[in-house]
């Protein structure tokens, strides 16, 4: 699209769920039959994008499901998948669900103890693992896992000489499926009918800030409702291309990449790895991209840094073009018409600058972009809007099947998440906690009745743990996680995510944790962006060797102090960051300090960096 007049929402005219379809199993199969040879997904194989049609997808899932049946899978049995986001993940997910089982994803970054915990808690009989590395996690804990009967490995590299009666390759499993199909030609069709809408379809494990992970049970009816209302939540069509990069066991990616296409079709492209998202974005140039704030911050930083390398003229042209974009965006957000003159200017800015900028970050074809899983800075949303890509914020959590609110087709609201989905209710508790009720509210936590009772009250309201503000027009604004709200020793309430987002808007800051609960003033632990800060250091001739020394360099501290000052100027006095420290370790998704969506875990950081935090309060000044 070249102008912001295009509507975000070519909403599906009627229900995307065919009559008589009330489970994910039935929906999957009716979609496979209806879409046939249309492409369903692509992935990169030795550097070349290869695609699977819906027919291929269905064939793989069917054989997987039949093989599970031949191995003795009974309705409601648990099937676990431990892999990165790859096509086989979905083959086995749909295979297990189609065969009448329940599927549960495990984060590929999990340690063996975490893997064993989920397998035991869920009671998995069958486990699919990506490769040798993931297999070893299960094998090392085997003595504690008597319930695991069969382990299936997608990639057998390095395992040629390994043999174990309980371990087989995915190829061998598919052969089992073929044999079973020959003997029982109707088995798949019958197994598709087994599950009832109120039966669980998937377990999604969420890492609580306290205690062990909890397995949220989502029923077929939950997921069917979420798929049906996805068209309000984030409207997509069969012509859309998307890019999958989060682990599929995360509810956001599960909905976007696994379940949404069952209702709307379209092509899902799998990123090669979490590290290649930017390159894959440029290759795929998706029409719809829903990502976590970390990715949007990274893309923004990429533009800022490229500008730094550009000529003075390029910088001038960019500033002018973005200013025009901002003027247009401001009117759109306010719901005001855009005057003709401004429109003409915008068309020019778009032609000369904005279009190329979008292309640079892989958004050349983007029609719709969304940010979810964590609050995003309104400044960042405005920037994308100015660039000509309508960005909206998605609000949902695992416990409400990933979907909660929506925007109208031509609304551009920055800083709010919209209204409750049709058929659901939303209200605030007296303390400001957001409560929801409706068919999207999950069944409860597996094996944890007391946790379930905390989450869903007697009247059926889901307590989200988020604090928000509800406008008279029903539009919701999220303030923060209830447990994260900071009350300073002076009694002031501060929402840390708002301040953190302002910090993260800087290309030099990747993440930050704001501290101040029960303290005299607010402080922050800051994680710098390695690439961008290195570039800066080289330009400024700041000497460093490794990452730790980079964070200790005075020039880098000065740089961050400048960024903190800039943010402080936009904050009320009590909110201002009076001291900060730079984390001297480069953290990745493998580290326990990080969530799978690449955010610092606040509680964990508080514990782990206690000495650094105490030092800031002992010293009490910017350092």
């Amino acid at each position: 699209m070249n102008e912001m007049t295009a509507s975000r929402a070519p909403a599906a005219p009627s229900s995307v769920i065919p009559p008589g379809v009330d489970t994910v199993a039935k929906l999957f199969w009716s979609t496979v039959e209806a879409r046939g040879d249309a492409p369903a997904m692509t992935h990169k194989d030795f550097g070349i994008w290869k695609s699977f049609s819906w027919r291929d997808y269905g064939a793989h899932a069917r054989l997987t499901g039949l093989a599970l049946r031949s191995l003795g899978l009974k309705p409601g049995d648990l099937v676990a998948i431990l892999a990165e986001s790859i096509p086989e993940w979905l083959f086995c997910d749909m295979g297990a669900i189609g065969a009448g089982g329940v599927s549960v994803g495990i984060y590929p970054t999990s340690s063996r103890d975490q893997v064993a915990y989920v397998l035991t808690d869920a009671g998995a009989r069958f486990v699919f693992v990506e490769d040798e590395e993931q297999l070893d996690k299960v094998l090392e804990k085997r003595a504690e896992l008597p319930g695991v009967e069969t382990i299936v490995v997608y990639d057998m590299k390095g395992l040629r000489s390994f043999s174990d009666p309980a371990v087989m390759s995915y190829e061998a499993l598919l052969d089992l499926g073929r044999a079973y199909e020959a003997a029982h030609p109707d088995a798949w069709e019958t197994s598709l009918q087994v599950a009832k809408p109120e039966d669980p379809a998937i377990f999604v494990y969420t890492s609580g800030t306290t205690g062990p992970p909890k397995g949220a049970k989502l029923s077929h009816a939950n997921l069917i409702f979420a798929i049906e209302h996805w068209r309000e939540f984030a409207p997509t069509t069969g012509r859309d291309h998307t890019l999958a990069f989060l682990p599929l066991c995360h509810m956001a990616e599960r909905m976007m990449t696994g379940l949404r296409p069952l209702g709307y079709g379209g092509v899902v492209n799998f990123a090669e790895s979490p590290d290649t998202v930017l390159e894959n974005l440029q290759e795929v140039s998706p029409t719809v991209f829903i990502a976590v704030p970390r990715i949007w911050e990274k893309l923004h930083a990429l533009v800022q840094m490229s500008l730094g390398d550009g000529t003075a003229f390029e910088r001038w042209a960019y500033r002018r073009a973005i200013a025009v974009g901002e003027a247009v965006a401001e009117r759109r957000v306010a719901g005001k018409p855009v005057p003709l003159g401004l429109r003409a200017l915008y068309a020019l800015a778009d032609l000369l600058v904005l279009r190329n900028t979008r292309r640079l970050i892989g958004m050349g074809h983007a029609r719709l972009i969304g940010s979810g899983a964590a609050p995003i800075s309104p400044d960042l949303m405005r920037w994308y809007l100015a660039l000509g890509i309508p960005m909206f914020e998605l609000y949902g959590q695992t416990e409400c099947s990933g979907v909660a609110t929506y925007y109208g087709a031509d609304e551009y609201r920055v800083g709010t998440v919209g209204r409750a989905l049709a058929g659901t209710e939303l209200k605030l508790a007296p303390d400001g906690e957001i409560l929801m009720r409706g068919p999207h509210v999950f069944m409860g936590y597996h094996n944890k009745p007391e946790r379930t009772a905390e989450a869903i009250d007697a009247e059926g309201w889901l307590h989200t743990g988020d604090i928000g503000v509800l406008g008279n027009d029903g539009v919701l604004k999220i303030t923060d996680r209830k447990s994260d709200i900071i009350i300073t020793s002076g009694g002031k309430n501060i929402t840390p995510s708002e301040i953190e987002n302002k910090l993260k808007f800087s290309p030099y800051i990747t993440d930050a944790v704001v501290i101040g609960d029960g303290r005299k003033f607010v402080s922050a632990l800051i994680m710098i962006d390695q690439d961008n800060v290195e570039k800066y250091a080289l330009k400024q001739r700041i000497v460093f060797t490794d990452y730790a020394s980079l964070t200790r360099a005075q020039g880098v501290r000065d740089l961050v102090a400048g960024e903190v000052d800039r943010v402080n100027r936009t904050l009320a006095n009590v909110e201002q960051i009076k001291a900060f420290r730079l984390l001297d370790v480069l953290l990745t998704a493998e580290d326990e300090e990080m969530t799978p969506t690449l955010k610092l875990r606040r509680k964990f950081v508080h514990e782990k960096y206690r000495p650094e935090i105490e030092a800031m309060y002992a010293k009490g000044q910017v350092g």
């Binding site: 040798e132 590395e133 094998l139 090392e140 085997r142 250091a537 080289l538 060797t545 490794d546 370790v585």
Partner: protein, 255 residues
């Protein structure tokens, strides 16, 4: 002030970046090791120091004077000898003539003879083969010759590029002892680049780990040997797991 100071060196091969801002210090009298896999930028680092490649940005200082941008002969004259990867002896010259090439800049004949004797004392094997073509020597002998040739100019600092490459374990030990001797008895400071981490860390006072053009870890040699990542990725020490063999490596952390 360190004898050699490398500061924020960025080196490109055309559009390809090989070093992305490398800084390191080599103190006089030390043996410093740079570890890294293929393509990490180790050889590029040495070539940048000796002047064979000019850095895109950053600086190299030796004995307090800037080296970057200077030609290789000037760098050599100031006392830096480069022993390149794969030895690069003059195959068709005799061992004696190879050593003479190392002393090419020395006009004083007396000193030349003295240096020659010093090298032969250090490597008696070279004296036995003085008249043979260098190309006919074994790999270990060629490595000795390359070291001897570098020694002829009485360097203050020697840059050694993978001296253990292609040598048998026995010869690796021998070369290791010679390098130590050069350092201890002859007072030559050494910057050693190696894939053989075991050898390098046994030898080095201080070490850096270089990965895709960046230093990811630094520390005293003994400390690096105890680092879990160095153990797994460079020393090949790791738990074998329940299957007895393990092909995959865990993800790197460098903390």
């Amino acid at each position: 002030m360190a004898l050699l100071e490398v500061r924020n060196v960025e080196t490109y091969y055309g559009p390809v970046v090989a070093l992305r801002g490398v800084s390191l210090d080599v103190e006089a009298g030390q043996i410093v090791a740079v570890l890294g896999a293929n393509g990490a930028g180790k050889t590029t680092l040495l070539k940048t120091i000796c002047g064979a490649i000019d850095p895109h940005s950053g600086s190299v200082a030796f004995d307090g004077a800037r080296l970057d941008g200077r030609d290789t002969w000037e760098v050599a004259k100031r006392g830096i000898a480069h022993v390149p990867e794969g030895r690069e002896v003059f195959r068709h010259l005799s061992v004696h003539d190879n050593l003479m090439m190392g002393g090419y800049t020395i006009r004083d004949r007396g000193r030349l003879a003295e240096d020659m004797k010093r090298v032969y004392d250090l490597f008696p094997r070279l004296q036995e083969r003085a008249r043979q073509h260098a190309g006919d020597l074994s790999g270990g002998e060629q490595q000795m010759l390359a070291l001897g040739r570098a020694l002829m100019m009485r360097p203050k600092l020697m840059l050694l590029d993978e001296p253990s490459l292609g040598l048998s374990p026995l010869l690796v030990t021998e070369i290791l002892n010679i390098v130590r001797q050069l350092n201890e008895a002859h007072g030559v400071t050494i910057l050693l680049v190696e894939q053989n981490a075991n050898m390098a860390l046994d030898l080095a006072d201080f070490g850096y780990v270089l990965e895709v053009g960046r230093i990811v870890l630094k520390g005293a040699g003994t400390r690096l040997k105890d680092n879990d990542d160095v153990k797994e990725f460079y020393l090949g020490i790791r738990e074998d797991g329940v299957r007895g063999v393990r092909r995959w490596k865990r993800k790197k952390q460098w903390r």
